[in-house]
């Protein structure tokens, strides 16, 4: 049998190495744009300030006086209407007293179709 000629081994190996490196570089460059896109979408879609704002308003609302001019009912309706029309979010909240009367529980619900937030805020009164 004739002796196998191995003269071109180096050339073939280098060709392999270079083509693999190029392939890998292309994948990395391709992924980098996708990574920036998805993180920015995730960051901008989460309504952090909206949820904080609604929560802050619900807590203020809890201390309003309902006997005078229906303040509590009016403000509750306003918050729900404004959140729905200006922030595309369904908001609902209500308060209950526990049986001893020492604690107030305020249930806060926020949902804009992508992110939901629920909280049971407890206040000693």
């Amino acid at each position: 049998m004739a002796r196998l000629n191995d003269d071109a081994q180096w050339i073939i190996l280098m060709a392999f190495i270079i083509s693999f490196s190029l392939f890998f570089l292309a994948i990395i460059l391709n992924q980098s744009t996708v990574v920036g896109q998805t993180t920015s979408e995730a960051v901008s879609e989460f309504p952090k300030e909206d949820i904080r704002g609604v929560r802050n308003m619900v807590i203020q609302w809890n201390f309003l006086n309902d006997t005078y001019m229906n303040d509590k009912k009016n403000v509750q309706n306003d918050i729900k209407a404004l959140a729905l029309s200006r922030q595309d979010a369904a908001v609902d909240f209500s308060f209950t007293k526990d049986s001893t009367g020492n604690y107030t529980f305020v249930k806060i619900h926020y949902n804009n179709g992508v992110s939901a937030y629920n909280e049971n805020w407890t206040f000693p009164s």
Partner: protein, 171 residues
């Protein structure tokens, strides 16, 4: 018979290829590539500056008094809003001020349950090419002085929620 002289060369070649790949991977990982999606970082900075400014304006100067923002909205005082908000946004240490532009609106619920939005003030009109971010601040108003209140004075005297919404951008 098959000759095995090239075996060592092949193993060496594979090892070299792996080393090259690992090096490229490490180098690419260490370099940050600014993509189009990264513009959200600038937007977030603008959002933080703006919502901090609105929060400051919504903080009472003394204890349980009304905050400047509530007073401004109740009296529909666009000039005062411009002065305070513009100073908070654009004043910097040194002589040159920042150049953040804004447009502010107030949204509130009318007596019939519909939501109305009225302009408060703006640093310049918006033409459509601006890349603006949106921030907002909730307030509770009492005795609001708006044109639509003349028809329903009792409704506006009571407490109501309102939403101050601001668009911010840099030219």
């Amino acid at each position: 018979m098959v000759n095995s002289e090239g075996q060592l060369f092949t193993i060496e070649g594979i090892a070299a290829a792996l080393i090259l790949l690992v090096t490229v991977y490490l180098v690419m990982n260490a370099t940050s590539i600014y993509t189009a999606g990264d513009t959200h970082i600038n937007d977030m900075q603008l959002e933080v500056i703006g919502s901090d400014a609105l929060k400051m304006m919504n903080t009472p100067v003394v204890g349980a008094n009304m905050s400047p923002l509530v007073t401004i909205v109740q009296n529909d005082d666009g000039a005062a809003f411009y002065t305070i908000f513009n100073n908070t946004l654009n004043n910097r240490t040194g002589s040159q001020s920042d150049k953040i532009q804004f447009m502010a609106n107030v949204s509130y619920v009318r007596q019939d349950g519909t939501v109305n939005t009225t302009p408060l003030n703006s640093s310049r009109p918006i033409y459509g090419g601006e890349h603006a971010v949106h921030i907002s601040q909730w307030i509770i108003t009492e005795n609001r002085q708006y044109p639509d209140c003349f028809a329903y004075p009792n409704y506006c005297k009571t407490k109501h929620a309102a939403l101050v919404e601001v668009l911010l951008w840099r030219d």
